[in-house]
Symmetry: C2
Subunit: 149 residues, 2 copies
DNA sequence: CAAAATAGTTCAATTGTTTAACTATTTAAT
DNA sequence: ATTAAATAGTTAAACAATTGAACTATTTTG
């Protein structure tokens, strides 16, 4: 039997997390013109890593590799990313941003940052720091859970 | 120009929030057999409200009404919800859980709660409480932003 | 070297979504 | 009281994200 307070935490968490994700996505969509919310995060991730593979993206975003193939196809069609060869392993496709993709991302990050900023500045620095720290702990816990499965 | 610390917060928040949502959804999917992640949250919401309308769901989840029509069609086909009439306004469709839907949700909540619990109990009560409070503030801020648009 | 593992793609199917056009009903304005 | 505007919901066409199974090509391993 679950402890009562934990049960209430879970209830509140489930209610609020889905809402914030949905509403946040709806707001961000306004800044992304042609690119979808999901595609934006893939571009962000590739940019942060410089170069990455389908398998890595599939692991990070917890989806099948075929979902990544479909996504990257769309991003290649839009001219945002390019597929390259890996010297060491000819099975591997190296994904990276094109010049167009890099420019688009830099411009868009500006607008996204401004959007997130108008929200964040309604909280104190301490509160934001604490919130993000806990969020990062959750991310690590989830990652460990998947690895031990 | 953005303050440097705020910019780092935004960077960390964007990175972590998408990941936690994706990985959380992937984990929850295991508990939901035939029902999708999105459908689960719709069922939860209807259950919490007792009865609700398409328009309300569209507002809450920040999607178009036609998306709700499609979703509710699938949930009706699966026997989880029913469409009823509204006495006062014959345009309105009253959505509610069927007996099957109510039972399924109660059983499933048990499993979902256990899943979330194994994650949450790795944090202290104080940390969880603070995290959820901030999350709820964010939800309110997002709601206000949409209302003033 | 043969078998097993890995990286990625293809294809068919399902789900969630948007937009525009539509029906039915209610509210409001003159 | 009647008409015009607003509201609730549906339909249809299109696209994006996803899964799962079957597949090719390459590398690793026993």
């Amino acid at each position: 039997m679950l402890e009562r307070s934990i049960q209430q935490f879970i209830e509140r968490y489930l209610s609020v997390s889905f809402l914030v994700h949905k509403r946040g996505a709806a707001l961000m969509k306004c800044e992304l013109d042609d690119i979808t919310h999901d595609q934006y995060y893939v571009l962000r991730y590739i940019h942060k890593r410089g170069v990455c593979t389908s398998t890595e993206l599939a692991d990070v975003f917890a989806v099948n590799k075929s979902a990544i193939t479909a996504m990257t196809n769309r991003l290649v069609e839009k001219g945002m990313i390019a597929r390259g060869k890996d010297e060491d392993d000819r099975r591997v496709i190296a994904l990276s941003l094109t010049e167009k993709g890099r420019k688009w991302l830099e411009e868009t990050e500006q607008n996204v940052y401004e959007l997130v900023e108008t929200i964040m500045t309604k909280l104190s620095h301490e509160e934001i720091e604490q919130f993000i720290q806990t969020y990062e702990k959750l991310a690590m816990i989830l990652q460990e859970m998947e690895e031990n499965k």
